[in-house]
Symmetry: C2
Subunit: 794 residues, 2 copies
């Protein structure tokens, strides 16, 4: 290893890392992961080693395993699901004369990798001198196609830098790749060893295919590769296929000044039902398409797809180049996670790593889908289609729990509950309201009546039925929801969680409204006037506890009576607290892992007065430790709303840089999609003040002192428009489509092609709130603005 660790370089449209840094590989593999939402490949070096954690994932393809309980209980899920590292097709090994190209040996005089946000490719340039002094230049480029969802393509070029040289390339399909076990951190998912059973293999010419099936879940997958070779004369090739390995070997003598270029096309497919021949045909067809389009064609399609995305969704941040890069990195990865999922989940880590076992959680609907709804609405729709496709499982689960309607799982790949700790899983019923909210938002933003008819109304109705059966009217006529867990994971199983109750309130109203729009669907679902009336009544009478003595909303009933956590006695290395304190201690005290009441003030802001928001925010700021990556983005939004703009800026920085700075020290297992989405929320809902309560789009923009200008784009019912914010004014202009009705700091406004510029009123938020000792967000001081060095751990 010849170069020092340098970290990511700052640039507006790319992410570049110079040097190798073996101990940083696993982390950078996550950031350099490519995906289209259907196939994901981590940014592992082509030669396979050194490596952090190799990973190739197919959305929805998982293995089952037993969930053990020392003390079981009724309704505990018995089977867990874990995303499988499927057949690895990105491996291309190089032999330079008789020396394997391995960067742990010899000297790399040049080594850099670049993720290009506009081209959608990962490129690499390495100049390497072998231990015996032979020098080669290696250039690679890879993409996971947004336009041909089964296809991955890689180009590998190698040239001798001094003498003529014999070069051998081995291009593999490798199944059941051995991978290392990770820590005992409960947040890091369990890995599975050799989950694939070989069913079929074949190799001929430059092409090979392997078909495998998981041992327990019985899912079948096929991976195929084909190649194009450009080489000097004298090429020798051979291809072989075993159960778990197919390999094309290419050998040639390359004169100085010439090069060997291998273009590798990969196709992946999987199915729960299709036969071996059918799957084989499917990947063969995908390969044929890719070959027909060709390498240059795939590159061009990729570029065009991304141009379109940025035209709708780009966010410009002037005054903080690192933040600018981080926000685009975030948007790029959100697009990668959702673009071509097509009725599969968007996992918490996307397809960038095995973290959280590859499960999807509520944060997809709460944080990721709003971003997609306003930028790539088809992707949001497809993710909601996945939820709709799992309704039978959610209804079964509700039945098992003694409830009506649909209880969506806390964590899952195929829609069945996989949470083995019910107080923080099954009891967190808000997931069903979060799904309903994402559905209602998608319907309001797109006006997509076809989706509403096919899926939207049913999701809203079945979740409303859940709430109607979960809550009850008390002797004072209030609708209570007892014994549930809200978003904050340092509390559990409490009565009348404000977030949950307000989200249930919206869920019940939206279901009734959708049934009015879709009377035939409602009738087919058996919804009567009386049932819808009960929903409205429950919504109207929802109980929202309030602590008169302290003048704040308790997160859940009784919360503000609990003992305050002793932050002064909590050493810095005791965070995250869940690794050093028992749940019993966390649950019974006033300590908040992540925004809960504060999230309620974002999602259901129309249920709070500005004064309540200010008091609540200050109260929970003093008790929130942000041991979850889900929190900073939301705190940025509410900090901005109540006028603490520099604090909001700090939180936005933390959310946007969570993965690039590895704030939670677990990026090695994948990126945090919700935190990446939090960067968008911090800009758009925070400094843009965007809210969409009841389908009305409003803005209340304000900039922090460090930023000169923000511009972001959104689409609403097919219209694209841009919002440009300066310190004293904001402009709204239509980019395409019909005019859009919005409000600016409460003033109604029509957005047309002629920009409307409106002044920003001043705000006096009073003194800034305090955070628990040592848990304030890192300040984005001016000195930080122009460097990409990792920030200190919080």
């Amino acid at each position: 290893m010849s170069m020092p660790v340098r970290g990511y370089e700052c640039a507006p449209w790319e992410l570049r890392w110079r040097g190798l840094a073996v101990d940083q590989l696993q982390r950078t593999e996550s950031a350099f992961a490519l995906s289209n939402g259907h196939v994901g490949i981590r940014g592992t070096l082509e030669e396979g080693e050194p490596r952090g954690l190799p990973g190739t994932y197919l959305n929805g393809f998982y293995e089952e395993h037993e969930l053990p309980y020392a003390e079981g209980g009724y309704g505990y899920p018995e089977a867990g699901q874990t995303i499988v590292n499927v057949t690895d097709g990105k491996i291309i090994r190089l032999l330079v004369e008789d020396e394997p190209f391995d960067m742990r040996y010899g000297v790399a005089t040049v080594h850099e990798r670049v993720l290009d946000f506009r081209r959608g490719t990962l490129t690499r340039l390495t100049e390497w001198e072998s231990p015996t002094g032979r020098r080669v230049r290696v250039r690679t480029q890879r993409l996971v196609s947004f336009t041909q969802r089964a296809v991955v393509a890689l180009r590998y070029e190698v040239e001798p830098l001094d003498d003529d040289m014999q070069l051998v390339l081995q291009s593999d399909l490798l199944a059941n790749e051995p991978i290392e076990r990770d820590t005992k951190d409960p947040r890091v998912a369990a890995a599975l060893e050799a989950p694939l059973r070989a069913e079929f293999s074949l190799a001929e010419d430059y092409r090979a295919v392997l078909v495998h099936q998981t041992k327990r879940s019985g899912l079948r997958m096929a991976a195929a590769m084909d190649h194009q070779i450009e080489a000097p004369d004298g090429l020798r090739t051979g291809i072989t296929a075993e159960d778990d390995l197919a390999r094309l070997t290419v050998a040639v003598d390359v004169p100085r000044g010439k090069r060997l270029r291998l273009t590798k096309f990969l196709a992946y497919g999987w199915s729960q039902q299709r036969s071996i021949p059918a799957l084989r045909a499917q990947v063969d067809a995908a390969l044929a398409g890719a070959l027909q389009t060709g390498w240059d064609g795939l590159l061009a399609e990729q570029h065009a797809f991304l141009d379109d995305f940025w035209a709708t969704g780009d966010v410009e941040v002037d005054g903080d180049p690192e933040l600018q890069q981080a926000v685009r990195f975030a948007l790029f990865h959100l697009l990668q996670a959702g673009a071509r999922g097509e009725s599969r989940a968007i996992p918490g880590k996307g397809l960038t790593g095995p973290g959280y076992d590859g499960h999807a959680f509520w944060d997809t609907e709460t944080f990721v889908l709003p971003v997609l709804t306003y930028t790539v609405p088809e992707a949001a729709r497809d993710a909601l289609r996945w939820r709709h496709s799992t309704l039978d499982k959610a209804k079964d689960r509700a039945g098992q729990l003694g409830l009506r309607g649909a209880a969506f799982p806390w964590r899952s790949i195929n829609g069945a509950e996989c949470s083995a700790y019910w107080p923080a899983g099954t009891a967190a019923f808000h997931v069903s309201a979060d799904i309903a909210e994402a559905t209602a938002r998608y319907l309001a933003v797109t006006g997509d009546r076809e989706f509403e008819r096919q899926a939207g109304t049913e999701i809203l109705v079945e979740t409303a039925r859940l709430w109607a059966s979960l809550g009850h009217f008390d002797s004072h006529g209030r609708f209570r929801i007892d014994g549930v867990t809200g978003p904050d994971e340092y509390s559990a199983v409490a009565d009348n969680n404000v977030y949950t109750n307000l989200m249930a309130h919206r869920n019940l109203r939206e279901a009734a409204a959708s049934c009015e729009r879709m009377p035939e669907v409602a009738s087919a679902l058996g919804v009567t006037e009386a049932e819808a009336g009960t929903w409205r009544e429950a919504a109207d009478r929802i109980y929202v506890p309030y602590d008169d003595e302290r003048g704040v909303h308790p997160q859940s009933e009784g919360f503000t009576q609990h003992l305050d956590w002793d932050f002064a006695a909590t050493p810095p290395d005791a965070y995250p607290l869940l690794l050093n304190y028992p749940y019993f201690d966390l649950y019974r005290k006033q300590v908040v892992k992540q925004a809960d009441l504060v999230l309620a003030m974002h999602m259901c802001g129309d249920s709070f007065t500005p004064e309540e928001k200010a008091r609540n925010f200050a109260y929970y700021e003093a008790r929130t430790v942000r041991d979850s990556s889900l929190s900073a983005g939301t705190q940025a939004v509410i900090a901005a709303e109540v006028g603490h703009l520099d604090l909001a800026y700090d939180y936005l920085g933390e959310a946007a840089l969570t993965d690039l700075h590895d704030v939670h020290r677990n990026v090695r297992n994948g990126l945090h999609m919700a935190s990446l989405a939090g960067a968008w929320h911090g800009v758009v809902a925070g400094f843009g003040g965007m809210r969409d309560h009841e389908g009305e789009l409003s803005f209340a923009p304000r900039l922090p002192s460090a930023l000169a200008r923000i511009e972001f784009r959104m689409c609403l019912r097919g219209s694209r428009f841009a919002v440009e914010i300066h310190a004293d004014r904001a402009s709204y202009r239509l980019l395409s489509g019909k005019s859009v009705e919005i409000s600016h700091h409460g003033t109604p406004c029509t957005v047309t092609e002629v920009p409307v510029t409106l002044p920003i009123p001043p705000i006096d938020p009073g003194p800034p709130p305090t955070q628990p000792a040592g848990r304030a967000p890192a300040r984005r001081h001016p000195a930080h603005l122009r460097t990409a060095a990792p920030a200190p751990q919080p």
Copy 2:
């Protein structure tokens, strides 16, 4: 099998079962178990088969095993403990000519087994005709010695009934006996297979010894046997020893009219530290003692020990012979569980079976120790010495949980927490107050200052420290204890559980009082005036929530606001509810598994007015399903106090007959010691109205209509006295020792050798309370009073 199932026969001083009933074997093995608190052997047939579940247990001897968690957490116990079925010495097999004596074949014309409560023996008489028509009479008798705690003795006699006959006896020591796995019922403990590793074996003459060590916990045990043989001439014997089997074989031709008699002496010992030679010497010495005493001597000692026990502790019930038998059965087994434990725990099942993994729980201190305290106080003292010996582990656990003082485990064999589900385990902190309460009661009843100095004060101080750190003063100056679990297992992790808070209140006061009595001990423990002052203040200001609207105490804060369980929609076969409904559903609704607030009214009755007791009792009666065997005895006590005497009688019947009627269908895994104790409480605290608040002994006797007379005995500070109750009057008389001060229905009274007879005032309790549909206790109708047939399942 030749005889029908008949069940137990009713008799005042014994438990007799005629006939075999293979499918009832496991259940009767529990009832026929013999134990002295140190060694326990289940009532398995000598010939080993047919059998239910063989079991030989040494108190405190366990194997460790991993506790698996699909999702782990900080502070979760990693190692579980399970009682080990140790080397089985009760096996004596018989060969009649060439036919093995096996009651599944041939015909048993006579077969009965009798547990004798006064002799402390289990006897058997079987007359059996082999498949080929050979007839023998087998008589056996066995005892686990109360006076020589390491010793078990068996006598086996066989005589031919027709012709002369060759008889062969094989007397075994068998280790790692294979046993069947049981159901998945979470209440039934996991069994371990072949936990013993052989270390030493030797056989010579009629004597053999086996030494084994557990594989993981590293505990070592020795079992030795010696024999005396009385036989006709021509005896041939042989003895062998392998790793897991030692066997004495005895063969002889026995003429008609003669018999073969084998007397087998067994000695058991175990240690965590002692060497093989040391343990071998220990059991050899015990055997030598037993042989020196001899069979007749052991029988005589056993009888004398029991005479003394019954003289102090007998309970007479006139008018219900079945109940009379059940109460003596209960007392006999409680004595067996505790008599010679000597600084070991009293497990939830005693040493009668492997249920609950052999763990001890809070119910030992709450239900079992009061019985022993008033009848065999040394046994109560020894059980508390066990808790004291585990203080270091309890202090470590408190530290791990972020608390001071001692947090005793929810379930354990060696004192380390083994509960793998913290909401119903670790969070049930009341166990520490229960231990403190048992300590305080023992001190008040015995005045044992030596124990107080050595152990009592320390237990009280360290548990008081726990409460001082677990609770906090709120803004109104109330001392709150949040986020804990009370006795009711259908609720968990709630604020200000009334039972817990009131028990903590007593714990804090008793600690302060003990420190005043033992200033040197307090000083050595670092207790300052200020600390004791804080305890008193916390006790004085303990928060006891009350629901003004409903006029009742909520079990925990908010409980009475929760939705009522829908009992009408709950089918009879859905009980126990925990096997058919998720915890989430149980916890959030008003459904009570077992007395909680009602237990508080028994244990801390001086904190409630009579009117509160009546209202609370009615309220919780309507919501209590008694899915726990711990409940009926307590409900009997409070039903009697509030004047519902016939209902109390029903509950007393259920508590007393829980095991004999197998009400919870799990007697096969051992008897329910706490429920057996509940029978005593139902009589003494229920119909006797005995309370001992603040060390003052009071009685408020009243009989139900079906009973003509109750007499029970107690000892207080060395004085024995009897309480005799008739419908209209009660008499108190001293049996030995100094006079005793008590009160009768509020009237002070001195108990002397001249009986004092006082009238019983009438009570009008109003209409009887209702229970959930189908969950009323079985009525003890007159028709039931003279039959021993099993009652219908509730």
